[in-house]
């Protein structure tokens, strides 16, 4: 039996030795791990799409309670949006200096990223607390249940991201820029940028379209 007759997985053509698996075997871990994480992030967006669909279906089911026009403050949302966008930017800057092994600047930009994320989270919690204080909590109507689920789920992601940023700062500090640390850092940046993409959808659909006159 010659080599060309050997069973091969994938498409083969006569005269071609390409098995469809590449000539060099699987990619390195520094490609495969972030790719797997990218798949997770995309499935997370699918999860959010279900929450968005729920919110869109229930946005007018206010049960005679407060409506989105009465509840939402665009100025607060603008500050939240700026904080999260700038933190996405500084996260990118942290990746640039991390690739060059600059400890001081990497930790510095990660700290700025985390602080901006904290500002975002603080404003969101303030908004939730004042809404619940006015009697517009998640039990008030289907609209508010959907609102707290959607925006709260994003806020929970930001909280996890903040914990992750702190963990990565400690790991970089104690272990330096080893290959597996860099992999984790890359996954963190993908996660953080994805959170900002989801926030774009939230501030547009929930806050801006929800407060149109």
């Amino acid at each position: 039996m010659t080599a060309s007759e050997a069973p091969a997985i994938g498409l083969t053509h006569v005269g071609s030795e390409d098995t469809g698996l590449g000539h060099r075997g699987p990619e390195s871990k520094s490609i495969v791990v972030p790719y797997g994480f990218w798949l997770f992030v995309l499935s997370d967006m699918v999860l959010f799409s279900a929450l968005f669909a729920t919110y869109a279906s229930l946005a007018h089911a206010t049960d005679g309670g407060p409506t989105s026009n009465q509840l939402f403050d665009r100025n607060l949302v603008a500050i939240e949006t700026m904080a999260l966008l700038l933190s996405s930017f500084t996260c990118g800057l942290a990746m640039i200096v991390a690739k060059r092994g600059n400890m001081k600047w990497t930790l510095g930009w990660l700290l700025v990223t985390g602080l901006l994320g904290f500002v975002f989270l603080f404003i969101e919690l303030y908004e939730f607390a004042s809404m619940i204080g006015e009697g517009a909590g998640p039990q008030r109507s289907a609209f508010l249940s959907a609102f707290f689920t959607l925006v709260g789920c994003h806020g929970a992601h930001v909280t996890v991201g903040l914990l992750w940023i702190g963990t990565m700062m400690a790991q970089i500090w104690s272990k330096g820029f080893r290959e597996h640390i860099m992999r984790r850092l890359l996954c963190l940046s993908v996660f953080w940028h994805a959170l900002d993409i989801i926030w774009v959808a939230i501030f547009t659909i929930v806050y801006l379209i929800g407060t149109l006159p």
Binding site: V33, P34, L42, L85, A142, I197, I209
Partner: protein, 128 residues
Amino acid sequence: MTEHDPEKLNVAPGQPHSNILSETVAYVIGLALALVLTGVSFWVASTSALWGPGVAVGLVVLAIAQMGVHLVFFLHITSGPDNTNNVLALAFGVLIVFLVMIGTIWIMGHMNANMAPDPALMNLQMQH
């Protein structure tokens, strides 16, 4: 931005370029575009100069444009051959997201229109 190793078949999502200046410039351009799109969104939502019924559609278009800016400039998803796997995964994700959202809004909108005799009653029914 063609300093990629020609031997490399794939790059990881979020993996920046290898030149510090072009990397930083890409992030600055991305930030500037995102700021402009965000600003336009907030302006469109608060002005009365535009045709009212079209505002919501315009806002959605602006949001999709800004997501594209984030994907290209922050997550470095490009049309290059080393990015094929990342783009295919993204395309599948976008397909599912649109199916879930448009399908739900379409079906639920028709159910509300066909099943509820009057809007006040519908409002009550949706609380259960």
